[in-house]
Symmetry: C3
Subunit: 257 residues, 3 copies
Amino acid sequence: MELLDRVRATTPLVHCLTNSVVTGFTANALLAVGATPAMVDLPGEAGPFASVADAILINLGTPHAAHRDAMLEAVQVARTHGTPWVLDPVAVGILPIRTALADQLRGEHPTAIRGNASEIMALAGAGSGGRGTDATHSVADAQHAARTLAHSTGGVVAVSGPTDFITDGDRDIYLGNGHRFLTTITGGGCALGAVTAAFLAVHDTPLLAVTGAHMVYTIAAQRAADKAHGPGSFQVAFLDELATVTGDAIVAEAIIS
Amino acid sequence: MELLDRVRATTPLVHCLTNSVVTGFTANALLAVGATPAMVDLPGEAGPFASVADAILINLGTPHAAHRDAMLEAVQVARTHGTPWVLDPVAVGILPIRTALADQLRGEHPTAIRGNASEIMALAGAGSGGRGTDATHSVADAQHAARTLAHSTGGVVAVSGPTDFITDGDRDIYLGNGHRFLTTITGGGCALGAVTAAFLAVHDTPLLAVTGAHMVYTIAAQRAADKAHGPGSFQVAFLDELATVTGDAIVAEAIIS
Amino acid sequence: MELLDRVRATTPLVHCLTNSVVTGFTANALLAVGATPAMVDLPGEAGPFASVADAILINLGTPHAAHRDAMLEAVQVARTHGTPWVLDPVAVGILPIRTALADQLRGEHPTAIRGNASEIMALAGAGSGGRGTDATHSVADAQHAARTLAHSTGGVVAVSGPTDFITDGDRDIYLGNGHRFLTTITGGGCALGAVTAAFLAVHDTPLLAVTGAHMVYTIAAQRAADKAHGPGSFQVAFLDELATVTGDAIVAEAIIS
């Protein structure tokens, strides 16, 4: 778990273009894990900022017109500079504007895609989406779609659920850590997309970076759950754990195959 | 308090078009009480999403142009589908754009309207608004306006204050629960509007649904206040209580007439 | 520390036009310290609301087109009414749109400017900005630029860092309170700008008001740090401390010269 130490040592600058519900929590999760967040999401600034960022997150939760323009700007710069970027296709399949945008962004070769089972299936053309931010499919349902999507984009695809599934199309990883409390706070998935971007900034093998991010995030969650009495205290304990969990603890507690 | 169990059992999908200050807290309050929030607030998506939502919240706190278009889209769909929706007329009366929008939305027959005394009076044409989000009138001042508004819209009107007043124009309910800490955090009223929408999704009698939502919310607040040392710890304890309070506790602690 | 009591007694109405990441935390910090926040950030309403506000915050963190128009509206009204206002030039120097806007706003004589060393230097024309929201210069580097900026605007300039530097161009104040935890949560600086606006509303000498705000804020932070286990619990304890710290404690713990 040298990756976590690298994030803390190098404080990667993570450029987030994300939805209006989770901006604060996402920034706090990135700060907790040791990265520096910046939410530059307006046209005319998203491109210039992307050129100095270490990684970029594109989250489609509330894609207003100006945000969409800013996302396309940032992604173009990311591709030119070889900057890793994460696509989080929130609620694609069930809503027209984000679905069209996600299809376009899928063609821009995201370094990683993170979503729930229904989102990954919809993005791969294998399903019609979930119920808002809730998946209506299981992670197992989405495995084939995830591998297909990984092959077609050349990136890593991560499906979040009780057991996370991460694949580059050839190699599959199953990660059994986490806690249901993550689904009782808003932004539990969205902030994971941002933390994934931070880890992509510090390692050249996306499959390892994505897996490392998911391990740190989900193990911090289960450690926090031990101290929580409900979703309010869980959120507080989770940020504390993200900031203090050690690489040794990650290695000791990982449930991975 | 079977209503609370129904929310937890059916996880109603609550479509929120709300202000940029309280999106995160509102989503967390809905999740805590057992509902599923979705903040789809852009034109072109708000209408389609409203057609699958179980209830809708329209909160006028920061009504930018695109949000206004999205609100009108969602409300049209709600009316067509018979989906219950809540209007929260934040700071109407003192600001021109939201006041005009609120007047228009009032004509669309909201299932429930929730606001402070000054907002309800302004919306009923009986006052000129408050001081930002602070009421400058008492709940007692607003009773007549609330009844008038309930009659003219055919909906339920709830006036928030030290004692909440809820009316369908004919029947009046006074609810004495709550805690002043709710006024020391942002979104204390806004999230109540969202929780009210969640309860409207699970019961056909709006007066009972609105009352149930206010009881759960204000009793969770007073239970949280017992554990809090200030507004920061109150907010945490409040989300924990919303998630764990039982129907029996609600019945035992309700101050209602 | 009579200033803190005045804020709590008069609950100044602070009109915030701020970035989308920190709206909730900023509102909660203002409520905790005893002020009333209102985030009216749309054109056509920002001007009218500014005319009833006691102080105004202009924060350039996510300056979308409509926000920029609203900021200019509010500042014009502030100048006409003599309402104190604070400029927080987030990430100026490195991004074109906000840098141009900040240059324009600088000419409108902000009552106070608050930023990190790199932002203050960039705004004074003495540097090219930092790294997102991180300063790449020390507070000492920025002292000359801060004095220059204070002279050219006629306002007070505050540079945030391990030791805060506050100047009206002639008198310099160094404030050694605070805690590094403030840099591990998002909005730690942005909310200070808002609290500074609240204090400007209750005292006619901006240098004293700005200093008072910084003392209360940074001493609340160090008291909160004693109770925190990480950034999550720090944020909770910080809001509690802002709400409960006494003037006597501020006087006893201030490290000022």
